[in-house]
């Protein structure tokens, strides 16, 4: 059952990657504002209807 150590290793590695991503998000200020982003995505800035290229 040595494979289980390998799989646990992979899983832990993945978890560490995600943990790293989490810390990055935390330090980058991704989690500072937990309300505005949810509203911001609703605002679509359509600059000019005719401006779109064909």
């Amino acid at each position: 059952m040595s494979i289980i150590y390998f799989l646990i290793g992979c899983s832990v590695l993945l978890a560490l990657v995600f943990l790293g991503a989490f810390f990055w998000a935390q330090r980058n200020g991704q989690h500072d504002d937990l309300y505005t982003p949810s509203v911001r995505i609703l605002l679509d800035d359509d600059p000019d209807e005719n401006d779109s290229k064909k």
Partner: protein
């Protein structure tokens, strides 16, 4: 500062959308055909290429990777651009991604009916296609991260986090589960064997559900649902919280697919604990979605896309509640191997993945074509017939699952099996299988109506291939602190670095660990368990080619109902030469692990030729082509050498003389069949598969050392 002007690429979204619809129809149609074969075996059209064992993987691959896969890319390419306020990183990569993915699907459509399969569920494709998948996936990753890096919006919205998790995890899962040693261009053996292979497969299998069918769809839900309802998500905080919780917990739930097998008990329990914990983050997502609509339920009444979303989210909630329940050992003992599981996955697939995809298509297609949906009535019809389809599908399957699961466990007061014949339980549930295919047909009808509706919508509008947008460029961070700039810049790219290092570490791990792991662990723990003879090995590969594992398990669980029915329960040491393992996940027919020696060679011959000769009422298809097709013995030497590399103890130089042994054993079987007045040449495929079936599970009977 002037705002940047740029254009969103809608054409790539449209292309993925078309692919979604077309492959969806094909995949579901194949599903309907295999469903009908389960009560009308003649629906295989008397043709090996369209027989259940080969086509069922085609159905699963088509709906998962072709239908859902294209839908994921459609959703990501649409939402990512808008969330990051940037066009996709590279149009060329987008194109390579699109056509590469379609090429993978087409090669699956060709190879699976030909019987070219690794037999790992949802990873059946052979090694050259595995490499292609890896390349296309990396292209997708570069395109996605490139877009994220050149974004004009500092904050990475939660949906994008779900997309990132999808990319990273699927990459690792795919590589680990595809470690195989090629025998020829179309054939490979899994590097791991038996219980280890099973663990790798279900570690992959469950996480594929998690990171292909769940996280990308949650991400899309977080973008499209607020857009459709035009109100922010109920709690952004909850979305962040349940994202991190979900990705940290999901990864170790896989062993719940292997309860009561020879996987060590502690690993099974670990899987159960993680599975039960998963309720919290899963329901976090469902609740967040449904509560977004609080105070707006009147919109649901009028808006068909929201109706699809509500039913989809509800199906997600039901499936993610049922999953942990099914992973409890007591429940699993009844549910596993039965139609209950089929019902469970289809609530998720038809309800959650299907309905979310339809909602997104109905919402998105009119937008990129700058028009209105052609017919709201048709969409509404689709919703209702689709919902009915799910009910007609799921309810009979639950019913069938409970019925068969309980029948197989029932004893008479005298203590003997009440239904000793497996076939009796199969025949009892055939009406439910008929109902199920009706449900599937209803669901498919809805999809076809949708395809027409979307086509008409596209025709009446005009595709805005490049949609203009503008946004302020991102201000540079801390321009005043010169020393901090490199640091900040590095901070903006850690995902890149992490992924690169991850790949490097993984490759290193493989090179270093694999040989040791596989060889040391292949030392048999049961002295009487011997490698397969060359003929049996060839027979086993035919067993794999025909997809027998799709209906027959090879693992006897330690229940009295199973040891009475099948024989001695399975031991881990019995599977050490099984590259790949063939335990299966569904018993449409009986378990075969102790099949060897139960019946004579002639029984197997007649049974394979026409199962109804030996078991009247059987729903197994005829395998008469095995009688006419000649066994390809040119591959024997290469196969033996590959097995030797994997640590199977054939004597040195055996590859050269293996075919002599093969001939001898085949002639013996042929002579034995001749005694029963069956004339068959010893070089036919049926002889090899009979040899394999007769070997199954007999090794531990040979010696008294059966002590694990």
């Amino acid at each position: 500062m002037q705002p940047d002007k740029f254009y969103y690429d809608n054409k790539i979204v449209r292309n993925f959308g078309i692919a979604t619809v077309i492959w969806g129809i094909i995949g579901m149609l194949v599903g309907l055909i295999v469903a009908i074969q389960l009560y009308k075996p003649e629906m295989n059209m008397h043709n090996q290429y369209t027989t259940f064992g080969r086509v069922r993987p085609l159905h699963t691959n088509a709906v998962i990777f072709a239908f859902v896969g294209n839908a994921i890319f459609m959703g990501i390419y649409y939402s990512l651009q808008r969330l990051m306020k940037a066009r996709m990183f590279s149009d060329v990569l987008s194109k390579i991604h699109f056509w590469g993915w379609q090429l993978i699907i087409v090669s699956a459509v060709i190879t699976l009916p030909l019987g070219l399969t690794t037999s790992h569920e949802y990873a059946e494709l052979e090694w050259p296609i595995d490499i292609l998948i890896t390349i296309v996936w990396v292209v997708f990753g570069i395109n996605m991260f490139g877009t994220i890096i050149k974004r004009r919006e500092r904050h990475i919205y939660v949906a994008v986090w779900f997309y990132i998790a999808t990319f990273v995890t699927i990459a690792v899962l795919h590589i680990v589960n595809s470690v195989e040693i090629p025998v020829s261009f179309f054939k490979s053996y899994m590097v791991f064997a038996g219980v280890q292979d099973a663990l790798v497969q279900w570690w992959y299998g469950h996480n594929a559900v998690a990171f292909f069918l769940t996280t990308p769809y949650l991400g899309m839900m977080y973008y499209f649902l607020p857009k459709m309802a035009n109100r922010p998500i109920y709690s952004y905080k909850l979305s962040i919280l349940h994202f991190w919780a979900l990705i940290f917990i999901y990864i170790w739930a896989g062993p719940h697919h292997l309860l009561y097998t020879t996987l060590p008990g502690w690993a099974q329990s670990l899987g159960v604990v993680f599975s039960v914990m998963l309720i919290a983050p899963s329901w976090g997502g469902m609740i967040n979605g449904l509560l977004t609509l609080r105070g707006a339920w009147d919109k649901v009444r009028d808006d068909v896309t929201l109706k699809f979303m509500v039913v989809g989210l509800t199906a997600y909630g039901m499936a993610t509640f049922e999953g942990p329940m099914l992973s409890l050992k007591q429940v699993n003992a009844i549910g596993h191997f039965t139609d209950w599981i089929i019902a469970h996955v289809h609530v998720g697939a038809l309800g959650w993945n299907g309905f979310l995809t339809f909602a997104i298509l109905y919402w998105l297609v009119p937008r990129i074509y700058k028009t209105e949906l052609y017919s709201k009535k048709m969409a509404s019809f689709h919703f209702w017939i689709g919902t009915l389809g799910i009910l007609f599908y799921a309810i009979p399957m639950y019913w069938a699952g409970f019925t068969q699961g309980l029948m197989l466990k029932e004893f008479t007061p005298e203590g003997i099996l009440k239904y000793p014949s497996f076939l009796e339980t199969t025949m009892r549930i055939l009406p439910m299988h008929v109902m199920r295919s009706v449900g599937g047909a209803l669901y498919l009808t809805g999809v076809i109506v949708m395809a027409y509706n979307l086509y008409k919508t596209a025709v009446q509008g005009k595709l805005v291939a490049n949609e203009a947008a503008e946004a302020m460029p991102l201000p540079k961070l801390n321009p005043e602190a010169g020393t901090e700039r490199w640091h900040r810049r590095l901070e903006r790219k850690p995902i890149w670095f992490l992924i690169a290092s991850l790949i490097v570490i993984l490759i290193g791990t493989f090179v270093e660990l694999m040989p040791t792991l596989t060889i040391s662990s292949n030392i048999p723990t049961i002295a009487s368990v011997k490698p397969y003879t060359p003929l049996e090995l060839q027979g086993r590969d035919i067993y794999i080619r025909e997809g027998c594992v799709n209906c027959h398990s090879q693992t006897v669980r330690p229940f009295r109902s199973e040891t009475e029915r099948y024989g001695e329960y399975s031991k881990a040491g019995e599977f050490v030469y099984d590259h790949p393992f063939l335990w299966g996940s569904k018993r449409t027919g009986p378990d075969l692990q102790r099949e060897g020696g139960k019946y004579g060679n002639s029984w197997h011959y007649n049974h394979l030729m026409d199962p109804r000769l030996m078991s009247p009422g059987s729903i197994m298809p005829n395998y008469d082509w095995l009688i006419t097709q000649k066994l390809d013995t040119t591959s024997t030497a290469a196969k033996i050498r590959a097995m030797q590399k994997l640590g199977v103890p054939y004597p040195a130089g055996y590859d050269k003389i293996a075919n002599q042994d093969l001939d001898k054993q085949a002639k013996g079987i042929s002579a034995d069949l001749a005694k029963d007045h069956i004339k068959v040449k010893s070089n036919k495929e049926i002889v090899a598969i009979i040899a394999y079936l007769q070997r199954l599970g007999t090794d531990i009977k040979a010696g008294k050392t059966a002590n694990n």
